[in-house]
């Protein structure tokens, strides 16, 4: 944060319409970009990779005093935290999808079912396209406009595709979305409806991501939200952490369980907690961060268990497609956060995931997408293994909506047997099943 801003002498900044020296001044309290690997610093601009070491760049800030009251006076969406994001101060006035301020649900029945004393679910279904991705896309879009980009693009496992297509439509700019061709039909439909360009790519998400990375290098006025404007985009996930703290009454939970795909969400929630504590907005209490992965794509969990600090890529094989990133870019930082805070990582089977989706629905009325199921199933596994303290207050993230991943659960649900509209048939059905309406 305190390193002086220098301009690389080895090479110009990476792809994007801006060049060094024309950095915008309208990115709020953001001050510069810094390399998370080697610490080299860069002016704010359309760059995402360190020219010295290939390390990812991260936004740093020069923050003024920020009070709880100033945040509480803001809108009921992520822009109440605009002063802690790389966006213009007047960001809320432009056309955007106004994501965030989702419910933090006190989950007493689920707590009893899982043996926890105090459990909360941060339920991201209420975002405009029904996942947390609306948060990161809104921040990426605001920054991309300031940086001079003309097209909003992404490689996606589905939720991001929905969010990018919707946000671009709302802002009146073109979107280009690249998805694996075998994505859930609901997620494809919920992208094409917005009218942007959707390209189905044969291969895995990692193959799609490779193509997007090459395109981002080639199309200089395209903002690939999670590639060449990633330093700005990723900051949007901090708002999940800010909201949890504010909704708990300006304090931090003792434990949090977060799904891990690229790993950025987990890392940024931890960053949010650290920023709030550093600003004096919450008491400086300790917290433990836990990561959740599907067993069919668990490269970070494998590295954690093996004691490694690098992540060996895998080929994903899981129903949890939103978590099916075999080469997670933020994996090493997930390991850092989990180890620093005393947390752990778990990986669960698809069957355990589906059981957890059904448990969350039956106990709290929340129909989670597969990533939410992986997160709850991981919580159960971490409790059973003694790694997660059942007496400590715990938050889990449900990052998206089960209506987008119906295929994962539909084979496990009972088929219905229609009856004629008579009391006699209803009574016969009750007698046959023990409860009305079920086959």
């Amino acid at each position: 944060m305190t390193a002086p801003v220098t301009t690389s002498t080895t090479t110009p900044l990476t792809s994007g319409p801006l060049t060094s020296g024309t950095a915008p001044s309208r990115l709020g309290n953001a001050s510069h970009l810094s390399c998370r690997e080697c610490g080299a610093t860069y002016e704010l601009g359309a760059t995402h990779v360190c020219a010295e070491c290939f390390g990812p760049l991260e936004v740093s800030y020069d923050l003024p005093a920020i009070t709880r009251a100033s945040i509480e006076a803001g809108p009921h969406n992520i822009w109440r935290y605009a002063s802690l994001l790389p966006v213009p101060a007047d960001v809320a006035s432009g056309p955007n999808t106004e994501p965030g301020w989702t419910r933090l649900v006190r989950a007493d029945q689920l707590a009893r079912a899982t043996g926890l004393r105090s459990l909360w679910v941060k339920d991201e279904r209420a975002n405009p396209t029904h996942s947390f991705k609306d948060r990161v896309v809104a921040v990426a879009l605001a920054a991309a406009i300031e940086l001079g980009f003309k097209v909003l693009a992404c490689p996606s496992t589905g939720n991001l595709a929905n969010a990018v297509a919707a946000a671009a439509a709302r802002a009146g700019i073109r979107s280009v979305v690249l998805i694996p061709a075998d994505l859930e039909p609901q997620k494809i439909l919920a992208t094409t409806i917005y009218g942007g360009t959707v390209v189905a790519v044969q291969g895995s998400y990692d193959d799609v991501n490779k193509l997007a990375s090459e395109l981002a290098d080639d199309r200089e006025d395209w903002a690939f939200v999670n590639v060449n404007v990633r330093p700005y985009y990723a900051e949007g996930s901090k708002t999940i952490g800010f909201e949890i703290a504010e909704q708990l009454g300006w304090r931090l939970p003792e434990q949090i369980v977060v799904p891990v795909a690229s790993g950025a969400q987990l890392v940024k929630i931890d960053k949010a907690f650290r920023e709030l504590a550093a600003l004096g907005l919450v008491p400086e209490t300790g917290w433990k961060v836990f990561g959740a992965q599907a067993a069919g794509c668990s490269p970070v969990t494998a590295a954690f268990e093996a004691g490694h600090d690098v992540v060996q890529p895998v080929r994903p094989a899981t129903l949890a497609k939103s978590l099916a990133i075999g080469n997670p870019a933020d994996g090493p930082y997930v390991l850092d956060v989990v180890r620093r805070t005393g947390g752990a990582l778990a990986a669960v089977t698809d069957d355990e995931m589906v059981d957890a989706i059904r448990l969350l629905a039956a106990t709290e009325g929340i129909f989670a997408e597969t990533a939410g199921g992986v997160t709850l199933a991981s919580l159960r596994k971490l409790v059973a293994s003694g790694q997660l303290d059942p007496d400590a207050e715990t938050v889990i993230i449900n990052s998206g909506d089960g209506l987008k991943t119906l295929d994962a659960v539909s084979p496990t649900l009972p088929a219905l047997t229609p009856i004629r509209p008579t009391l006699a048939e209803f009574a016969a059905l009750e007698a046959a099943t023990g409860e009305a309406g079920r086959a």
Binding site: T10, T11, P12, T14, S15, E37, H48, V49, A51, C53, F54, G55, P56, K133, C154, P155, S156, T157, N159, L160, G203, Y205, D206, D207, N209, K210, S213, E214, D217, N226, V227, R230, A234, A261, S262, A264, V310, Q312, P313, V314, R315, S322, I325, N327, P328, A329, D330, P332
Partner: protein, 91 residues
């Protein structure tokens, strides 16, 4: 036949701005060494001081991520394209 290597923008200062350069077939380690001989300094951006692939660079031989193949020992036959891509992913 030779091997073509796609160079990302941040490394094109080493190749005189060329987005694609040609070299001889071999293992990936040999390909990178020969690139470094032609474009001094380029190899050090892709490999760390211990000679391993840097943590945040992905190298593909054809469509194959070399970390899923044989790493720096991955064969690079004639006519195949090698791509060097910064590692970013998500979502």
């Amino acid at each position: 036949m030779s091997v073509s290597v796609r160079v990302p923008t941040i490394l094109r200062a080493y190749t005189g701005g060329a987005a694609e350069v040609a070299t001889e077939p071999g293992t990936l380690r040999e390909v990178l060494a020969s690139l470094d001989a032609s474009y001094p300094g380029l190899g050090g951006r892709i490999l760390d001081d211990a000679g391993r692939l840097r943590r945040f660079v992905n190298v593909y031989v054809g469509e194959e991520d070399v970390r899923l193949a044989q790493g720096l020992d991955t064969p690079v036959p004639s006519g195949v394209q090698v791509s060097v891509i910064p590692a970013v992913a998500g979502g």
